[in-house]
Amino acid sequence: MPSEEMRAPEIDRQKMEVDIACAGFGPAMGGFLTTLTQAWKENPADPAFESRVMPGMPLQVVCYERADDIAAGVSGVVTRARGIRTSFPDLNAAEIPMAVEVKLERVLYLLDPIGASRRSYALRLSDAVLRGAGTLLGMKDHAFELPWTPAFLNKHGGLVMSIGQFNQWVGSQLMESGLVQVWPGTPVSGPLVEGRGVTGLRLMDQGVEKHGAKADGFMAGMDVRAQLTVVGDGPVGAVGQALDERLGLPKGHARREWAVGMKMVIELPEDSPLKPGTVWHTFGFPEPEIFGFLYVHPERLVSVGIFVPSWLGDPSRTTYRYLQHYIQHPALWRYLKDGTLRSWGAKSLEESGRRGEPFLSGDGFARIGEGSGSTNMLTGSGVDEAWTTGVQLGEAVLELLRAGEPFTRESLAATYGIRRRASWVERGAREAEKARNGFHGGVVRGMIGMALVGLTGGRLSLGARIPPAHKQIRRTDSYSVEEGLLRKDAAALAMADGRPLHDALMTARGWPEIVFDGRLLVSHQDALLMGGKVQAVPGYADHVVFRDIGLCIACEARTCIAMCSGQAITQGADGLPAFEREKCVHCGACLWNCAQSPDGKHSNIEFRAGAGGLHSAEN
């Protein structure tokens, strides 16, 4: 059955045939295309590289990326770089701006110096003990440093990088080869599906109005037919979503755990003592459920950010406000206070790991990267794993091309599937599969569960019943009288000065107001412009769609508004959520932060393919 879009009245579309069509350019696609181009450079006369659709020409490989530049819209990272270094044995970090080898790692438990975070009694008790024995335990700046970095978190010898810069570096080499074409600013609306197989990609219609109706300059999205379609469009990508919708997930698999990662790139003051290659992992603040990080790049740049998970049982998931409080924690603020915001961004992370793995391949298609469930939730590592899945597919494709075999479900399973199952990515994913189980029963239980999995290599773990993401938004205590009163106070505050409700709610809960300095502490809207450089070209339809607006009217939580990383979803004057795609950073958080469902299966928000987003290349 074709997808809804494919059922739309037939439009005269341009058509094109290529050998391999790819959706999304990130680390996984970088690994895939690098593997192909390295083999091509080694032996351009290899018959494997002869195009089947254009005899006499080299293999026609095209990759379509939604972002307006291959360096835009991605994130900073610390990675062991095991797979990346295998692809580039002579890799010199100095050739990639903002990249440096990891030199020093610390794990810090951050206490709450404000008293506003929602801590359980058990946690308050342990905090009191830590404070009491502070000097003895080496407490400083309301932070307790773990005496060692657990092996599963350790990234020593790895790399601190900006994925934007890394993508740019990889992309330059790819395009210089002449074998592959990476087209930025070209969103893919979905796969071309026949039966359970994929025959290519359909690009987005242009010249349409907000709701998709034809407007001046209408241009129907082209159908790109290919023998193999490689899907690497991430956890909220339109192609991956459409395939999941159509094929379902393998038995026992589900995507129920998510997080939004938001970060700033900050230029440190000239006298900063932080050394490049320094990595901090933090937990405990601004909420116990929120993990944080600080990575020091060369030339006084630092990436600082937090992860707000789906299991934060509270509808006010205001990541930007939380991030502002996070950077002002005394342990961080000591180093950041005279810094300047250089870049800012956010993205959704698919945190189900292997439990969220889709069908990895089928007739004419294969899936790689984060959207294929490769992220390791124990080590908190995804980039290197994603890269490696791309390499594995690249090797498999070369094998099939050389053998002259078609890209079928069986042939891809026997080449790509087998490589993946036999690799360190799979072993790590299996170990990590239950690492986050405990967090659904509270933070302390979660930390114990994670340590148990980490220290036993996944042999021991805590059990868990993980509800769908939309049922994790509220816990019972969110319905308390106290919460109700707080929300009333917040609503009054929001009405009084016109601020967003979720921002007012944090103030009502006791979080101090953010005192803007115009340099590092800036309004959310300024972060979009100064940091993320968010833009969207006209002529595309909205990609965030509210399926049943009646459900939105009845919704009390309105977490889509609270969680929106770009304040692109706001409450309109009529009380309904309003979407402005020019402010959307495409993090996809709204997809898993909607508590309503029109059919019991989907959330009330549809996150489709779209254009624009972050333009900063320093993320």
Partner: protein
């Protein structure tokens, strides 16, 4: 005889102005930090010229459009992945240094040397297009110098529109002070037209146009000739970024007139 033109568009690349641009001094002179890995765009003024050229060529079947661009080959290729989707052209890349801190005379010499040897170019039908300004060079004289080197006497700068007549002559609207245009009548090609923004919207990305262009662009990039620009005698006394102003204030109860008045007052205060 139908009018056909041979339009050569000179267009450099510029760092994406949305990025953080940090001036540095390099061994080769002034530059931008990490310029080779900064996302780049086709110089916006020259991009207008390219879209106008494609439009003009489409209106006059048989015309040809070449895009002559000087910059590092790898960078040119990346920029072409976006530009090639917007209009049909034949790329003539010249592998050269990045950035706007090159001597305009040397750049013009490298460009004209390339243009003069373009296979199939009929100089009697030549329209030399480019930007009247550059996002990387405030002087904006490269196009004028290139025209002089090619011996083209009719030059127009700040062009927003041309209207071709049946006899091959054309009327040109050039920007002048006070938001007005000066209308001139040119007898016909050859001529130099340094474009302002023109009146055309930026074309949409058309993947099919992109793929068609790429079949010639990729081989052209592979065989791009190199140009070494002579920088002798060039000395920069001072280099600075354009000053950016940013003042944010949330106001929800102002009328459009009040907002306009405040902006006028703010501009006036500068």
């Amino acid at each position: 005889m139908a009018n056909t033109f041979h339009i050569v568009v000179c267009a450099g690349i510029a760092p994406d102005p949305l990025q953080t641009l940090e001036p540095v001094t390099t061994p080769a002179g002034p530059g931008l930090k990490n310029e080779m890995v900064l996302p780049a765009v086709l110089d916006p003024w020259a991009a207008s010229a390219l879209y106008e050229a494609a439009h003009l060529a489409a209106a006059h079947p048989g015309s040809r459009v070449w895009l002559v661009s000087l910059g590092p080959r790898a960078k040119l290729q990346q920029v072409m992945m976006t530009v090639a989707q917007k209009a049909s052209f034949e790329l003539v890349p010249v592998d050269g240094p990045i950035g706007g801190f090159t001597d305009a005379h040397a750049t013009a010499a490298a460009l004209t040397e390339t243009i003069a040897t373009l296979p199939g170019l009929d100089r009697e039908r030549l329209l030399l297009f480019g930007g009247w300004e550059s996002a990387t060079r405030g002087a904006g004289v490269t196009l004028q110098l290139a025209g002089e080197r090619l011996g083209i006497m009719d030059q127009f700068q700040g062009v927003d529109h041309i209207d071709v007549r049946e006899d091959g002559s054309f009327e040109v609207l050039e920007r002048v002070e006070g938001g007005k245009h000066q209308a001139s009548l040119c007898a016909g090609a050859p001529a130099v037209l340094g474009w302002a923004t023109g009146n055309l919207a930026e074309p949409r990305n058309n993947p099919q146009v992109g793929m068609a262009n790429m079949r010639t662009i990729l081989p052209a990039l592979q065989r791009a000739r190199s140009a070494t620009l002579d920088a002798r005698g060039l000395r920069y006394v001072q280099v600075s970024l354009p000053r950016q102003q940013r003042t944010t204030r949330v106001a929800k109860d102002m009328t459009a007139d009040a907002i306009a008045s405040e902006i006028v007052e703010w501009i006036g205060a500068e």
